[in-house]
Each structure stands twice: as structure tokens, then as C-alpha cells.
């Protein structure tokens, strides 16, 4: 199973195995990773599963569609590498992916 690393804004990190097909958000929720709220449950409607994707992965993950970028406008402290983790679907290619959660989600 692909390993995903979730790091918080203070630098504490946890690496867990996430099943292919789940989203990075679901991986966090199912494993009680703090820092990802996902209030809307993954319907791209709330921007509370906002993460920063480690730069080197930006070209390897699927590009954000317009609706996601629009939603990131609402996120807490968006940056160039901001993504909504509910839109990142885990595959073998993402083995080793590292995301950092913002200081808060709202």
C-alpha cells in the first residue's frame, strides 16, 4: 500500500499506509490524523481539508480542476502548493507523498 506522510505546521509527522483509491483526506480521517477537518465530506465545498503538497510532488499529482482552485481561494493561508486533500486520490505512483497541514483549517 502507498505510504503517505502527513506533517503538521509544527513539523510533527506521521506516515501511514493508505489504500489505493482512497483520497488523501480519507486516509487522514480514517487514521485520526489531526489537522484535516473535511467538514463537507469531500464534495469540494468547504476547503477544510486544505494541505500543502511537498514541491517535488506537484508535477506528479493530478492537476487541480478549476472548481478546486476556486475553493482554495477560501482556504486558510493558501500557497502555490495548496491542494484540497479530498481531491488527491491515492495510487501507487503517490507512494511517499508528503503533505503538510496548515496552522488551522478555518
Amino acid at each position: 500500500m502507498p505510504k503517505i506522510t502527513y506533517q503538521d505546521d509544527k513539523g510533527n509527522s506521521k506516515t501511514i499506509e493508505v489504500e489505493n483509491g482512497l483520497t488523501v483526506m480519507e486516509g487522514a480521517i480514517q487514521n485520526d490524523i489531526p489537522g484535516i477537518d473535511a467538514d463537507c465530506g469531500g464534495s469540494m465545498a468547504c476547503a477544510t481539508c486544505h494541505v500543502y503538497v511537498e514541491e517535488k510532488w506537484l508535477d506528479k499529482i493530478q492537476k487541480a480542476e478549476e472548481a478546486e482552485v476556486d475553493m482554495i481561494d477560501m482556504a486558510y493561508e493558501p500557497k502555490k502548493n495548496s491542494r484540497l486533500s479530498c481531491q488527491l486520490i491515492v495510487t501507487d505512483e503517490l507512494d511517499g507523498l508528503k503533505v503538510t497541514t496548515p496552522a488551522q483549517q478555518s
Partner: protein, 337 residues
């Protein structure tokens, strides 16, 4: 104090259907919601997005679903208290007293919490200083636009609210429209109007930058924005308006002494009562083994909760299970002849 059979907190689809399920049993209800209209997440988050899993409704939008539910509960004439948030829940023997931030008081044997993920509130600016200026120099909505006359106003956001207010207030004030990227989500027509005003100096558009810090003691004197390349710009500002949409906050619900699991309320799946007798939780906010956050699950939950509500509100009457198709009593309540 308003007396009723059931106080419903939340006017989303499940709160609305609660009115129906209580109504056909002859119970009165009031509905309280922090938003200015009914519909909850359906109307606030996805009014135009399609929903495909409402039984017998192959496709409908959040707005259509809300409209249909409002039509369905019309015969029951429930009173709606919108723009109000429930702040306090107190026990009075077998009854409950509910107080809102608008100083309304309600009294009933039952409370149904259909609060979704909590109440919708404006998303606040991220910088630390923002809080102390809120309500003085920083606003998340415009109540009285006269307040913003002949001032320097910095508006944050890229959606319709930001664009519309930039256009409107530019009639009598100097506007800075500030957005984190160069693409705006708002209506293209409004944007082209704004671009015209930019040429004659009425509006200044600043993109690819975000709020970095705020200067001022009691009121704001200026703000600093930081561009992607690291450059900082100081902007003379009297008022900041920020439009980053709404966020759901659990709010006071967490303080009502109910058994909680993270942001959800523990219920039994027999009648969806919480750890307090007479307080029920249904829809996205409730939690029990196997819970699915689906609208259709909420409909089922509130149907069962309403039976227990009946027993508590009419302790001397026997509850009789009836079908809407064949019950004369229910059809009378629905106003059908």
C-alpha cells in the same frame, strides 16, 4: 417565551423534513437557523450542484430540494426564526428552554438538533491582528453602506461578493480589490466593469498577493500585503472588507453537555435521542454505528425521532402508527379533502 412541542435547530433538509414528520403526528414545531434562509448546506454550499441519491428523485439541485421540502411542509405553518443562533439550552424538569443570540426564548419537551456541521459563519482573516479590529475597521459583510462613504477601502476576495461590493462602493470611495491570484471567480461582466473603473483610478486591483499585517491602534491606518515574489506593499486603508465565504462552526452545541464524538453527537439508532432525554440529533451531526452522512439517512432518522417526540409531548395519548395514504387524520392535517 414561545411554547411549542418541538424546537428544531437547523433549517437544512433534515430540519425541514422534521417539521413534516412532527406535523403529520399533530405536533407543532419552530425552526431556528443561523442563516438568513432555509436550506442549510444544500443552499449555502451547493445550490446549483446536482444531487442524485434522493429516492424517486433522479436528479435535483440543492436549491430545488429545499424548495420542494418547503412546499411539502407548508400545511404545518411552522414558525421560522432565521438569522438566529441557539446559544443556550437549559433543562426545566421534563422540558427544555432554548435561548438564541437574538434573545428569543423557546420552551418545549423536545429539541431536535439537525445542525449539520454547525452554524455557518463568515471565514475570518488569517492574520492575528484582525480580531481586534473586527466590527470597527474590519467587516465580513456590509449592513449599512453609508458607513463606507469617502474612505479608503481594501476588499479581499475573488468571488461575486468581493466584486459586487468593489463596484458598488467605488461610487463614493477609493477601492483596493485584493486577490491571491490573477483570476477572479466572480461574474465576468462585473469584472469588466471593474477593469474600466481601474483605468480611471476609481479602483485599484492588486493580485497575486495576500494580507500580511495591519497597522493601527484603535482603528486601522494601513495594511501591508505581500506579493508572491516577496515584495511588500503598504496600502492606506480605513476599512477592510473580507469575503472568503462561509465556514461551518460547531459553536455552542459543544457546551450543552451532550455526549460528543469529535464534532458529532452520539445518539442511539432506535430513536436518535442523545445522552439527554428529549434532545435528539439527526442528519450529519449525529453519530451511531454505521452512520452515513446522506440526506436520505437523515430523513429516516428524523422519522424515528418524531415518534419519541410524540410520546414526550403527548404522554397521555397513545401513539398510533399511520400511513399518509390512508389516514384521514393525517390528510386533514395536510389540508387534503
Amino acid at each position: 417565551m414561545i411554547k411549542t412541542d418541538t424546537i428544531i435547530i437547523g433549517a437544512g433538509p433534515i430540519g425541514l423534513f422534521a417539521v413534516h414528520q412532527l406535523g403529520i403526528k399533530g405536533l407543532k414545531a419552530v425552526v431556528i437557523d443561523n442563516l438568513d434562509r432555509a436550506g442549510g448546506q444544500c443552499i449555502e454550499l451547493y445550490p446549483d450542484k446536482p444531487i442524485y441519491d434522493i429516492p424517486a428523485v433522479p436528479e435535483c439541485t440543492g436549491e430545488e430540494l429545499t424548495k420542494k421540502l418547503l412546499e411539502q411542509i407548508k400545511p404545518f405553518n411552522a414558525d421560522f426564526f432565521l438569522n438566529e443562533r441557539v446559544d443556550e439550552v437549559k433543562q426545566d424538569k421534563k422540558n427544555w428552554i432554548v435561548k438564541t443570540n437574538n434573545n428569543n426564548e423557546f420552551y418545549a419537551p423536545n429539541i431536535i438538533i439537525a445542525g449539520g456541521v454547525g452554524s455557518f459563519e463568515p471565514r475570518k482573516l488569517a492574520v492575528k491582528e484582525a480580531e481586534k479590529f473586527e466590527g470597527k475597521s474590519i467587516f465580513y459583510s456590509v449592513r449599512d453602506k453609508q458607513k463606507f462613504k469617502n474612505k479608503n477601502i481594501s476588499i479581499f476576495g475573488g468571488g461575486d461578493s468581493a466584486l459586487d461590493w468593489a463596484l458598488e462602493l467605488s461610487k463614493f470611495s477609493k477601492i483596493n480589490l485584493i486577490h491571491r491570484r490573477d483570476k477572479f471567480r466572480g461574474a465576468p461582466h462585473t469584472l469588466s466593469e471593474i477593469k474600466k473603473l481601474e483605468k480611471n483610478g476609481k479602483i485599484s486591483i492588486k493580485t497575486s498577493c495576500q494580507l500580511e499585517s495591519i497597522d493601527g491602534d484603535e482603528i486601522i491606518k494601513s495594511i501591508n500585503v505581500k506579493y508572491e515574489d516577496g515584495k511588500i506593499e503598504n496600502i492606506k486603508t480605513d476599512f477592510v472588507l473580507s469575503f472568503f465565504g462561509l465556514i461551518m462552526k460547531l459553536g455552542p452545541i459543544a457546551e450543552w453537555g451532550l455526549n460528543m464524538n469529535k464534532k458529532t453527537i452520539e445518539v442511539n439508532s432506535k430513536n436518535f435521542e442523545t445522552s439527554k432525554k428529549g434532545i435528539f440529533a439527526v442528519g450529519d451531526i449525529c453519530n451511531y454505528p454505521g452512520k452515513l452522512k446522506l440526506i436520505l439517512s437523515g430523513f429516516h432518522e428524523v422519522a424515528l425521532a418524531s415518534v419519541e417526540c410524540f410520546k414526550r409531548a403527548r404522554p397521555d395519548e397513545k401513539y398510533r402508527f399511520e400511513f399518509t395514504t390512508s389516514s384521514k387524520t393525517i390528510q386533514d392535517r395536510l389540508g387534503k379533502k
